[in-house]
């Protein structure tokens, strides 16, 4: 018998379509030939991972249909099998794969739609946290505000796309029930994906507000982040919108690192 790591490596290679001889020798036939058992296992792997991806990217699937999605998923699974035993982590490279493989060329907004769905998935599984309460921000000494570091909520993700990808998302989720059209020429969007409580929310942000949150996420103090966001920024309106969306993490009750 080969050593276990060798057997595992050749098993994985065979599942990905490589040589089967070393693995077949280790499989007991018992009524069903070893090669068929391996084929059944390989088929189950592809189908299960395809189902897993369909659960993470329902709008992509709804947009392009089940057959095209299955073809994309099969190609992705062959190129990028899971690296973790936890399927929740599977699919992070799906959007770049759609770009790189050229499979999404007929639908140019498809990879950004996949990015939005991955951001939704990440927000869904992010750590729970009550968002920063406006009153807690109001309680900060005004003299400390310019140097204040506002951290994004653990679930918050920013996505910028040259397409109206939120409208495409809604159409894809509706699937065959979608009765309308999406105008791809409607222009780009900056989206905030965040889960302030139990529900994941997708909101459009003003580009300057998105730049403000991105600068905060990079650890910049408020006065500097506001300057970074550009002259188009209405700081009061942007902060009010971000606070209402639950985009900021609460201040730590004892760790005062947000203060200068």
């Amino acid at each position: 018998m080969p050593a276990l790591p060798d057997l595992q490596h050749s098993f994985m290679a065979a599942l990905r379509g490589g040589a089967e001889d070393a693995v077949l020798a280790a499989i007991a036939g018992d009524g069903i030939p070893a090669a068929e058992r391996l084929a059944i296992h390989r088929n189950n792997m592809v189908l299960t991972l395809t189902d897993s991806l369909a659960g993470v990217f329902p709008a992509v699937r709804g947009l392009v249909g089940a057959d095209f999605f299955a073809a994309c998923a099969a190609a992705f699974i062959a190129a990028h099998p899971p690296r973790s035993g936890t399927l929740i982590r599977y699919g992070d490279r799906f959007a770049p794969f759609l770009d790189r493989s050229g499979m999404a060329a007929p639908v140019p907004c498809l990879s950004d739609l996949a990015r939005l769905e991955w951001a939704w998935h990440q927000a869904f599984h992010a750590a729970d946290a009550a968002p920063l309460a406006p009153a807690d921000l109001g309680a900060i000494d005004p003299g400390d505000l310019p140097a204040l570091v506002l951290r994004p909520h653990p679930s918050a993700r920013l996505l910028s796309s040259p397409w109206p990808v939120d409208a495409v998302w809604a159409a894809g989720l509706a699937g065959d029930a979608f009765d309308g059209t999406v105008d791809l020429d409607a222009g780009g969007v900056d989206l905030l994906v965040v889960r302030p409580a139990l529900e994941v929310e997708v909101r459009r942000l003003d580009p300057a507000a998105a730049a403000l949150l991105a600068a905060c996420a990079a650890g910049r103090p408020l006065a500097e982040a506001a300057a970074t966001a550009g002259t188009g920024l209405d700081l009061a309106a942007a902060l009010a919108g971000l606070l209402a969306a639950g985009a900021f993490a609460p201040f730590h009750p004892t760790n005062q690192e947000h203060l200068p």
């Binding site: 592809v46 897993s52 249909g65 929740i88 309106a237």
Partner: protein, 91 residues
């Protein structure tokens, strides 16, 4: 970028007044008081112990992959209008 030692910042008084306005305007973020979290619920397709397929598909030795590359998607994407292959400038 790092060579620039003078960091651009907004004047403190503008930051303070903007924060005061924002706090007054933002109100309280919505609370999910009427919902409770169901622990242990896994999204469909994420339970890797179970075969999520019918026993028919589960015991099939046929490859799950389609033989022919499906070059054109069918589905809702027919309802996307406009949008050349070259992405437009964001606006």
């Amino acid at each position: 970028m790092k060579a620039n030692t003078l960091k651009s910042t907004l004047p403190a008084v503008m930051v303070a007044s903007a924060v005061a306005m924002a706090v007054a305007a933002a109100g309280t973020p919505a609370k999910a008081a009427d919902k409770e979290k169901c622990y242990g619920v896994v999204k469909a397709g994420k339970n890797d112990c179970a075969t999520a397929n019918s026993s028919c598909a589960g015991t099939s030795k046929a490859d799950g992959q389609k033989d022919a590359f499906i070059a054109l998607p069918k589905g809702v994407c027919e309802k996307l209008v406009g949008g050349s292959l070259k992405p437009m400038k964001k606006g």
